[in-house]
């Protein structure tokens, strides 16, 4: 693959005495889905929040598109084109799909809204993602199913010509059919050339859509491998023990938080 769109080198993060991330190396390629897996407390969410600029990193380098960047707050991340879809989605129930997608970044002049422009742009984005599940872009979010909400949240992240989209457990609360829709959508994001990071606990999802798996173990990057090179079992071992055969941390027993 060519140069990665987002690259982290030797990133450390501590909360007081707790060293949460140890020398993390992590790369995201454009046009690929990178699954970020790890047990509870392994540091997945912290890593995502560091990338999103919510937590400042203590040390290490972040390179975006080959250039070293300093992400200092969520707005910096948004400016680079890094969008995060959090687990709780952050949609306002009483607003419709278009209104939610443009929330806080409404189009229009002099404080007036340009509804026509926004509606067309929203529909275009949903069309480009081949979303067929939402009946009308003027449906209130309150009337949407969990999968549809997830779709709207993801489309909202894509609307801003983003380059990297981080998805925090997008299928955790969904049924079978809805999981299907969301996974298809995740795949299409990558096909459009975005770098996609998928946090998930579900190995089926990971093996279905991810090109690569990055496995965190107690705050360390245990392995970053192509999904075709590993088996289910190996990934589970990496998650639970930090090591599987030749892969993983040399001496996981010595790893401490």
């Amino acid at each position: 693959m060519s140069e990665p769109i987002l690259e982290l080198r030797g990133v450390n993060k501590s909360f007081g005495p707790v060293h949460v991330l140890h020398d993390i190396d992590f790369t995201v390629q454009a046009g690929e889905v990178t699954a970020l897996v790890g047990d509870n407390g392994a540091g997945k969410s912290t890593l995502v929040k560091c990338i999103a600029g919510i937590y400042p990193t203590d040390s290490g380098e972040v390179r975006f598109n080959g250039r070293p960047v300093h992400i200092d707050g969520p707005r910096d991340a948004a400016r680079l084109g890094i969008e995060v879809v959090y687990q709780d989605l952050a949609l306002a129930d009483n607003l419709d799909v278009v209104q939610n997608m443009f929330l806080g970044r409404e189009r229009g002049r002099f404080g007036l809204l340009d509804e026509a422009d926004m509606e067309q742009a929203a529909r275009k984005t949903l069309t480009s993602l081949s979303v067929r599940t939402v009946k009308s872009v003027r449906t209130q979010v309150a009337a949407l199913s969990g999968g549809q909400r997830q779709t709207v949240a993801i489309a909202k992240a894509v609307l801003w010509n983003s380059r990297v989209v981080l998805l925090d457990e997008p299928t955790a609360a969904l049924g079978v059919a809805q999981t299907r829709q969301v996974l298809d959508l995740v795949r299409r994001l990558a096909e459009q050339g975005l770098g996609v990071v998928l946090i998930s606990h579900n190995m089926n999802d990971v093996f279905e859509v991810a090109d690569r798996v990055a496995c965190l173990y107690l705050g360390r990057m245990a392995a970053e491998v192509h999904t075709r090179d590993v088996t289910h079992g190996q990934v589970v071992e990496l998650i639970t023990a930090g090591r599987s055969g030749e892969l993983g941390i040399a001496r996981p027993e010595s790893a401490t938080i």
């Binding site: 959090y86 306002a92 129930d93 009483n94 929330l103 806080g104 009337a143």
Partner: protein, 477 residues
């Protein structure tokens, strides 16, 4: 790419036009579909102002049949003037309710603005003389504080209006009805700045802040007016606000401007949406809606331009001034809520505060601003009710002014839980309450019965709100 995508591949042929793939069949619905959708929404618990409208019709029928004088022209015009102040205060409260907050102080705050206005008029522009040194210094101090707080939160309109109030107070502008009204509104704005800051920035729950201020402002009114005293508003213009009428020609000009403007905006918007292929209601429905408004407004204007005086000597006719006042406020407020970025943010903060915060909306500023709007609207309401009575007494804005206003907003369909509601709800709800009050009065019912019935209606409205919420939560998705 991995082979997992192969199954999705056949669907990925690029759509011929941007819109064709996604929901072309949903952008324009037939009338039947739209009605079915509306039915589904009603069953799903989104009632909107429907219960209030039905209640209004029921009330008109009941009172019309048992109280002879209810449906006379004189009484209808009187009803409009009686309901106007509650309507205006309720419209301001809608902004606060949209955030799921409450402003219990709106009533007595309006009383303060009325008292300041009356004092300024009675004392010939000398507020210092009217209030006494200590009270005047505290008053000016509060105005300065309001300017500062608004400036800190970058609510420039609030800061500017509070500064105007300070200027009028300090300079001692000679009394003039227009200056008095401006002063009242500006004092209202200043009060809102203080309330809003306490809620949004200091973080005291709005219920507690405004409960405390409800008591405090009640005391301030008493202090300004004086125990047992009243301040008369001996001014023709101020008297006309709630008691005057447009001329017949003026009434029809109002009809043409208001209805013509409404039709132009609604139809223009509708056809522009159709042209651009956006989601739009069916054309027949839009035409019916506009037609109904035109007919109702024409009938109303026609009736109100007839002579409604009970004696043969005097002629009373024309649309009361309060109608255009309420209409203008309704149009401005609706425009702000539906068409501006600010209005969108109000709904967003009311719907999901966390989502709004993450979307980069300054939540504290929005929360403070609604209190500024509410108190300013309350001041306009104060001008109207003071004009109706012709004086300001120590009880101005007390009693049940506030409760009726909140009740009006809620009966109209504004949710107390935030996020749902429109300004027209306040107008419809206030019409219901004013009708109950007026009709019961005509039936010579004692105050006790009026209060009890009003209370029960409010309870009913709040119950409908809560039940429809529950319904909406369990409605199939």
């Amino acid at each position: 790419m991995t082979n997992t995508t192969s199954e999705a591949a056949p669907q990925d042929s690029p759509p011929p036009a941007a819109i064709s793939d996604f929901g072309i069949d949903t952008t324009s619905r037939s009338t039947g579909e739209a009605l079915r959708d509306y039915g589904a929404r009603l069953r799903g618990g989104e009632l909107g102002p429907l219960p209030a409208l039905l209640g209004m019709v029921a009330l008109l029928i009941v009172f019309g049949s048992i109280a002879d004088t209810f449906l006379t022209l004189g009484n209808i015009a009187n009803l409009l003037a009686q309901g106007a102040s509650i309507t205006i205060i309720a419209m301001g409260l809608v902004f606060v309710l949209l955030l799921g907050e409450i402003d219990l102080s709106a009533g007595t705050a309006s009383g303060v603005t009325a008292a300041v206005m009356a004092l300024h008029l009675v004392r010939g522009g000398n507020l210092l003389g009217g209030m006494g040194d200590v009270v005047f210094s505290v008053f000016c101090g509060l105005l300065v504080l309001a300017v500062l707080l608004a400036a800190v939160m970058r609510i420039w309109a609030g800061a500017a209006l509070s500064a105007v109030a300070l200027l009028i107070a300090l300079v001692g502008v000679p009394p003039n009805p227009w200056v008095e009204m401006l002063l009242a509104v500006c004092v209202g704005t200043a009060i809102g700045c203080v309330t809003g800051f306490l809620v949004a920035k200091v973080g005291i729950p709005s219920f507690v802040v405004t409960l405390a201020l409800f008591l405090a402002w009640g005391g301030v009114v008493l202090q300004l007016v004086g125990q047992g005293g009243t301040l008369g508003l001996n001014d023709q213009v101020l008297f006309e606000v709630a008691n005057g009428n447009l001329t017949t020609a003026g009434s029809w000009i109002l009809f043409v401007v208001a209805v013509g403007g409404y039709a132009a905006v609604v139809l223009g918007r509708h056809f522009s949406r159709l042209r651009k292929g956006l989601v739009a209601s069916p054309t027949p429905l839009v035409l019916i809606k506009v037609g109904a408004v035109v007919v109702l407004a024409a009938v109303g204007t026609c009736l109100l331009t007839l002579d409604r005086s009970r004696s043969d000597i005097v002629v009373i006719s024309g649309v009361p001034y309060v109608v255009p006042i309420v209409l203008v406020l309704l149009v401005i407020g609706t425009f702000v809520l539906e068409r501006t970025r600010y209005g969108r943010h109000v709904y967003a903060v009311g719907g999901n505060q966390e989502a709004a915060r993450r979307a980069g909306i300054d939540v504290a500023r929005v929360r403070m601003s609604v209190f500024v709007i509410c108190s300013s609207a309350a001041a306009i309401g104060a001008i109207v009710y003071s004009s109706k009575v012709g004086s300001v007494d120590p009880n101005a804005g007390g009693d049940n002014t506030l409760l009726l206003s909140v009740g009006a907003a809620v009966i109209g369909g504004t949710s107390l839980f935030g996020g749902r509601g429109r300004l027209r709800d306040a107008v419809i709800g206030a019409a219901v309450l004013a009708t109950i009050n007026n009709g019961m009065g005509l039936l010579k019912q004692p105050a006790a019965v009026v209060y009890i019935v009003t209370g029960l209606v409010l309870l009913l409205a709040a119950g409908v709100d809560a039940l429809s919420r529950r319904r909406a939560a369990v409605a199939p998705r």
